[in-house]
Symmetry: C2
Amino acid sequence: MNAETILTDWGSKLAEYFHQMFASYPTAPPRLMEAVKYSLMAGGKRLRPALVLESHRACSAGRDPNDAALAAAAAMELIHTFSLVHDDLPAMDDDDLRRGRPTNHKVFGEAAAILAGDAMVTMAFEVLARHCGDGLLIPLTRELAAASGPAGMIGGQVLDMDAEKKPANLDQLQRLHRMKTGALLTASCRMGAIAAGADARKLSALDRFGRHLGLAFQIVDDLLDQTATPQQLGKATNKDAAKGKITYPTLIGLEASQREAERNLSAALEGLGDFGAEADGLRTLAKFVVSRQV
Amino acid sequence: MNAETILTDWGSKLAEYFHQMFASYPTAPPRLMEAVKYSLMAGGKRLRPALVLESHRACSAGRDPNDAALAAAAAMELIHTFSLVHDDLPAMDDDDLRRGRPTNHKVFGEAAAILAGDAMVTMAFEVLARHCGDGLLIPLTRELAAASGPAGMIGGQVLDMDAEKKPANLDQLQRLHRMKTGALLTASCRMGAIAAGADARKLSALDRFGRHLGLAFQIVDDLLDQTATPQQLGKATNKDAAKGKITYPTLIGLEASQREAERNLSAALEGLGDFGAEADGLRTLAKFVVSRQV
């Protein structure tokens, strides 16, 4: 199965899951739920949920996802989408375009976009608490909170804002990427493994896979920002250079960045060395992340 | 013991708890943690944590709080403080003053204030997951998420924004208050009871207490906005009238509002009818909420 099929299949499953979730908030203001749906159902790649579900598959001898894995996949996409909505705000990156459509605050206004993002965070933790049993809720909530909080994605955002003002070296850049993008991608793999009841050895393999995949992902993101068109990406490009941001290409050049992405892909795949065909979905997704042109 | 002593005692305990919590994020960007601390340690009344801890006391025959009750108290204050930081943003209420000091975004900038609020939400769910055992984490997380999410506080915020534009009747106003303020106050009481392992009868009593206390609290808040000075409240007053907002005093007048607050206080206290001296702290806090002049 190719990456597009994997992403589309899990994406359909997730869309169905989200529709049921929306219906479970009958007393929420319709305007708020519209703003949440606008961004959550905007046709993102669903890479993080796919990583959760394929990691679950790899650690459960190819089984279909259990309730905890599905909830973790939904929670991860809620956190990712919240971060996009807040990142796009005028006070942050001030973006008008996301996934080829006007950003949330352009459609619903700034206040509604802030509140829709806030709501998605609470919904992420709620979906876990509704569908994970005793024994799984504690480790899964800890993973999600650590990956998204002050020592994870949100902390990475703060570093990223500072990075716009001052130059950084490769160490600082890697730390930023590990927090801002890597933490959520790694946690996606770890949460799928945890939902499957993986032992310490498997969990550690998925952790290694996720860390290298996260770095590869961000390097490719930096490359695409410099080389793709807004039409290809569905959002503004060349933003990094315009802001004087330090990225992989500006620090080490285009070719070395491409090599570094491929080196991390190899390391990610090595992490899966002990797995058989049940991890083929993960392997396919990893190659897709590094080879995607748009 | 009077209300000020109860609030001060639990407030000191909570401050110590928060300092330990801050130390558990050694890799978080210092700038982010400063923004979080600025608002979290700004000397709020700590009413919600005190309600958690006194509800735990009422349902545990007067025992000291267990780990789950302390975590619930901290989580509740994190959610409450996040909501203040985001409410004060230029895109929302655009307030310059909070608890007698410049608001978070006035000191750290809008982007940092948005991210500090976001971080506090993840920290709230994380503190529960770190300190609650199996069996308690599921119900406590569900309470917190439901009270703060789209059908609770955040939903109430959205209704409140809309209410600035169109007139409301008493039913709509009560619904708004139940969501925006009541949900968190009620959940504080319920979470304390749950942490104490309360049976259904006690939980239902605390629920009733919390609901009426929540309404009384909001009516008094409306009254204070109209009758107090900014110096007394430590924040701007007369904001509601300036925005043409519908409040209890504008709908039914000052005197009827005062009577309605007292009627809700009586109903709250009746809810505690089956409890003995172990609920005296809750009774004292309820009377304080309705009688506070500043």
